[in-house]
Amino acid sequence: PRLERLKEAMGVLQHHDAVSGTAKQHVTNDYSERLSQGVTESFQMVVEAYSKLNAVEGGDEGPLEATAMPVFCPLLNVSSCPLTEASEAFTVTTYNPLARPRSFPVRVPVPSGAGYKVTDDQGHAIVSQLVPVPDAVLRVPGRNSTATLELVFLAEDIPPLGFLQFHVQKTANLPFQKEQMSQIFRPQRGL
């Protein structure tokens, strides 16, 4: 029934007004609300699927950290994700829907003032880079986030229809943080 919610929403949104935005504002808002509810409920199914996979992986230990459930951050496009901004440590799961391997630069919103160690599921340290969030994004009305940086690292060769997981650990180690921070230049025009 939860997947039905998304199917119904996408069915209703086949209408040309929904596809092209030629509807009154309150109708457009209603379309957005239906889609948002449908996506949210279908994501709950994804979470259950992950916990089953983890349960399998956990073997006799049972699901790894059964209490901790995956969270999706739909505002990554304005560098906002409460979980990654507040956690000392978290795991990142990247699922590849393509039927062939692909690499993908993962961008995680984080607050400044720390470094972030990224480890893959083989225990290897992953090269990562801290990139400042553009001022214009920080100013977006309605953006409610403490993130001023994005932690960038490469999810290399995510298996087809499969996923890779990474562990991210916040660290106060200054030399590490300096090493991780991008170089920033503000050239004055005309010079």
Binding site: V46, E65, F72, F90, T94, L98, G123, A136, F153, S182
Partner: protein
């Protein structure tokens, strides 16, 4: 000299005009050197036609109708403030034309795709003029004979010729809107066997090529008049009491980025699939250190 940004010896190099901070050329960094290709990109806006729709000539630009007032777009600003961010994985150029138009040009290490993440809004309308914002890429030395190609749902590429329709004699009363077409995933221009370029989007937009070597996509609109096609209100979305802010990505590809393993068609087809089916990212809090988690 111009401001040159590249990622060491892999991927793309980008140069900006030192006086305007705008894109000036891009090139592929190869072991035997870099061949830079001239290309400009900036943001323009069309004034939306206002009117009471009482007669054809008073038809307003609105939700159904794209009808710019005048045949020429104006630049949002002549120059952009620039911040350059450099690191081992990604080089970024943060450009800001005005507080409501900015973008990040990105080149990832070993990736031969120029990513342009745009941010538009709230579009100011205190001057009483509705505005339709476009991103315009210009390849200055290329002649494309008023021809460009747009896709139909990411599959068939349709040939478009300026001020022309293949099935009837067109008398184009709308020099701009009459040359705008739906772009579901890519707009391609070709200047002969050695030059092809693709501008790819992450959502369907209107697009055109109004001059040789031009590629233009409409990103965001805010209009003040209804166009009398049934909506009964202007396309004037407000959020938090201001105009809506939109953010998205465009990707620029050039045939020079192709190689023996992947020709130009392969480049934009595989990028199109990657853009449409991006990885799903989720985060899980953990109390375990990396080795225990592993």
């Amino acid at each position: 000299k111009d401001i040159e940004v590249n990622l060491g010896n892999q991927g793309l190099a980008v140069s900006l005009d030192k006086d305007t901070g705008l894109l000036k050329s891009i090139g592929v960094v190869r072991p035997d050197g870099i061949t830079m290709i001239k290309v400009n990109q900036t943001y323009m806006w069309y004034a939306g036609m206002s009117g009471n729709n009482s007669q054809e000539e008073f038809r307003a630009s609105g939700a159904y109708i794209f009808r710019p007032d005048g045949a020429h777009a104006q630049p949002v600003a002549a120059a952009a403030n620039v911040t350059i961010v450099q690191g081992p994985l990604v080089a970024e150029i943060h450009q800001e034309w005005t507080p409501w138009v900015s973008q990040v040009i990105r080149a990832y290490k070993e990736e031969l795709t120029l990513e342009m993440e745009w941010l538009v809004g709230p579009i100011p309308v205190k001057d009483g003029i509705g505005k339709e914002i476009v991103s315009r890429v210009i390849w200055p030395d290329i002649s494309t004979n008023g021809t460009f190609y747009t896709d139909a749902n990411g599959r068939e590429m349709l040939k478009r010729v300026k001020n022309y329709r293949p099935t009837w004699q067109l008398h184009n009363a709308e020099p701009v809107a009459g040359n705008y077409y739906p772009v579901n995933s890519r707009l391609v221009v070709s200047g002969g066997p050695d030059f092809q370029a693709a501008l790819m989007n992450d959502r369907s937009q209107g697009g055109t090529s109004l001059d040789d070597g031009h590629m233009e996509l409409m990103l965001h609109r805010r209009l003040l008049h209804d166009d009398a096609f049934g909506v009964g209100e202007p396309l004037n979305e407000t959020a938090f009491g201001e105009g809506l802010v939109a953010r998205g990505k465009l990707y620029l590809l050039h045939s020079d980025f192709a190689n023996d393993d992947c020709d130009f068609g392969c480049l934009h087809r595989s990028l199109g699939e990657k853009v449409m089916l991006e990885p799903v990212i989720s985060f899980t809090p953990t109390t375990k250190p990396a080795h225990a988690w592993r």
